[in-house]
């Protein structure tokens, strides 16, 4: 594990005029960690990254890297490298010059630059394209060039702002794997912004989930998937995300419409709740929640059965061999242990 690249954000507030983009963000990232900032657009994840990079100033709060307060330090002096969503390559320079630029700016010796550029280019497999200009590269090649420019200087912090979002689906999956391998081999702390929960789940060691300018949960992908901290997180994580149904707790039982479930644990006072059920945790059976099938989506190895239970839509993932038809009346069964409960009012996990 790398010894440098410890990040600490303390009470970061960012306002744009009357709009508050970040309401006090606290975050700690360990050295060598691959950390994802995940959230829907406008949730403040990119702003957080930009404040960490020094491209924007926070209105309140401090930014610490390796124990030093860098809140008022210029981006160039923070020893961080960044890959932009648009790649932001220098269009008038060759790939070689693009990669060499950060080294030239600090007066590195020519021979050292040359070997560093070739090494970085080889790592992302664009060493045959060094003489080209960005305009002559494909999207994937431009992305690699931006990566090479970032890794060439061996920064203590590697910042990635939706680096895969401009690639096509197939290339995105391939690059995701490569990015992960690259980060492991470089052993550099990486902060990765994405709105794609699947991307964050597969690539990150840990992640922070942003909603409306606040961090609502921090944890490993497994933790976040297994125990979403709020209804918002539950509705965001997983593909498709968790089914969320209105329910009520009364007399130690959970009521979903007319259906009743005994959970075998203390449920506390009588109240309104939101019930979360993962599509893969559901199965059709002789007993359970009554529903009517609206539509069946074939996903290849599985099927997604979309049905209506009372007022709610429920998605159920079933085996491809299961024989259902549109319009069938079924009963949806589930193991009580698979139930996630959230307080209706606050959305917090119970």
């Amino acid at each position: 594990m790398s010894a440098v690249g410890r990040v600490k954000l303390q009470g970061i507030v960012k306002r744009h005029g009357n709009v508050t983009a970040l309401h006090g963000v606290d975050l700690e990232i360990a050295p060598g960690e691959f950390f994802a900032l995940l959230g829907p657009s406008g949730s403040g994840k990119t702003t957080t990254l930009r404040i960490l990079a020094g491209l924007e100033n926070a209105n309140e709060g401090r930014v610490h890297v390796d124990g030093a307060d860098v809140t008022d330090v210029e981006p160039g002096e923070r020893d961080v490298a960044m890959v932009f969503q648009s790649y932001a390559l220098y269009p008038h320079m060759t790939v070689y010059d693009n990669i060499a630029f950060p080294l030239r700016m600090v007066g590195t010796a020519k021979s050292a630059i040359d070997s560093a550029v070739r090494e970085a280019a080889a790592k992302v497999r664009i060493d045959h394209l060094l003489a080209r200009r960005p305009g002559q590269l494909s999207g994937g090649q431009q992305q690699r060039c931006a990566l090479a420019r970032a890794i060439v200087r061996k920064p203590r912090l590697f910042l990635l702002d939706e680096p895969l979002s401009n690639l096509d689906a197939k290339l995105r999956l391939e690059t995701r794997v490569e990015l992960r391998k690259l980060q492991r081999s470089l052993d550099v702390t990486t902060v990765y912004v994405t709105h794609d929960q699947e991307e964050a789940m597969t690539i990150a060691d840990r992640m922070a989930i942003f909603m409306e300018g606040r961090i609502v949960q921090v944890g490993t992908p497994d933790e976040v998937y297994a125990r979403p901290a709020s209804v918002d997180v539950a509705g965001f994580i997983g593909n498709p995300p968790m089914n969320l149904l209105p329910g009520r707790i009364a007399a130690d039982r959970l009521h979903i419409g007319d259906h009743m479930v005994a959970l075998g644990r203390d449920l506390g006072a009588e109240r309104e709740v939101t019930v979360g059920l993962r599509p893969a945790a559901l199965r059709a059976g002789p007993t359970g929640l009554p529903a009517k099938i609206d539509l069946i989506e074939h996903l290849g190895d599985t099927k997604l059965v979309i049905c209506r239970a009372g007022e709610s839509m429920v998605k159920m993932r079933v085996d491809k061999a299961a024989s259902f038809r549109d319009g069938d009346d079924i009963r949806i069964g589930f193991d009580p242990g698979e139930i996630h409960l959230f307080e209706r009012q606050s959305g917090r996990r119970l």
């Binding site: 990079a53 020094g54 491209l55 210029e74 981006p75 160039g76 002096e77 961080v80 490298a81 960044m82 932009f84 648009s86 932001a88 390559l89 220098y90 269009p91 008038h92 320079m93 630029f101 950060p102 700016m105 600090v106 420019r149 200087r153």
Partner: protein, 297 residues
Amino acid sequence: MARSSDRPTRERRERRFALVLFLPAFLVLAIGTTVPLFYLLWASLWRIDLSMPWLSGFAGLENYAKMAADPRFWNSLGLTVIYTGSTVVFQVVIGLGLALLVLRIPRGQAALRIAAIMPIVLAPVVVGMFWRTLVLPPDYGLLDLVTQALGLGSHNWLGDPQLALVSVITIHTWQWTPFSFLVILASLAALPPDVFEAARIDRANAWRRFIHITLPMIRPAIAIIVIMRMMVALSAFAAIFAATGGGPGTATEILNLYAYRTSFTDLNLGYGAALAVVLLAITLLVSFLMFRLRRAA
């Protein structure tokens, strides 16, 4: 089958109609530009001196040969180079500086842009008159008021041979810098901000961002400004004519003014035509070289 055999006649009819529509424009262009141009070339090969009409006759290349030994021609050629070179450099440098400053102004850019258009829309002859009567005259001119207040004394801005050249260069620069300012401002405003952010993260300071990112990225705009303004400066006339008439003596007599004075003051039409042909040749050559340079870059 019938339809496909129809088509050629219809196409031919349409082409003929298009030709008829094009003809007036073609005629205007031919009568207004092409014919005078060939007449000029032809006239430059003749001895046509209205003050000495008895000497008229075909001269071949005599007018061109005469130029080589004409100190006034060489003087005017030198002035043309100085005038064109300095006005173009000033326009680009000052225009770029202003654009970089204005780009940082969060509000009021629109008002500045409108103000910048004002000198451009003035007729050059009006500009020349305005400078001659309001700005540059000794004692009561605006510039003299400033220099006297600063204790630098009064100067005959258009009467002193050396100051006169500086003055006409200033007038041209004043009128046309706003053009390069507007083009460069638009070009700067269109640059992608993330590239500059990348450069900040890549440890480039403000000066290096300017040299390594800004300048190369607006180079196409600057190249176009240089080409266009060179063409205009080479054939500048009205503002100088209105301000100094080429004087005092021949202190501001660029090639274009020398050709005019030879033709219409000295009435030596043949030699004047030859001078104009040389100016045309220089303009064409310069524009050809500039465009080639631009394509190479």
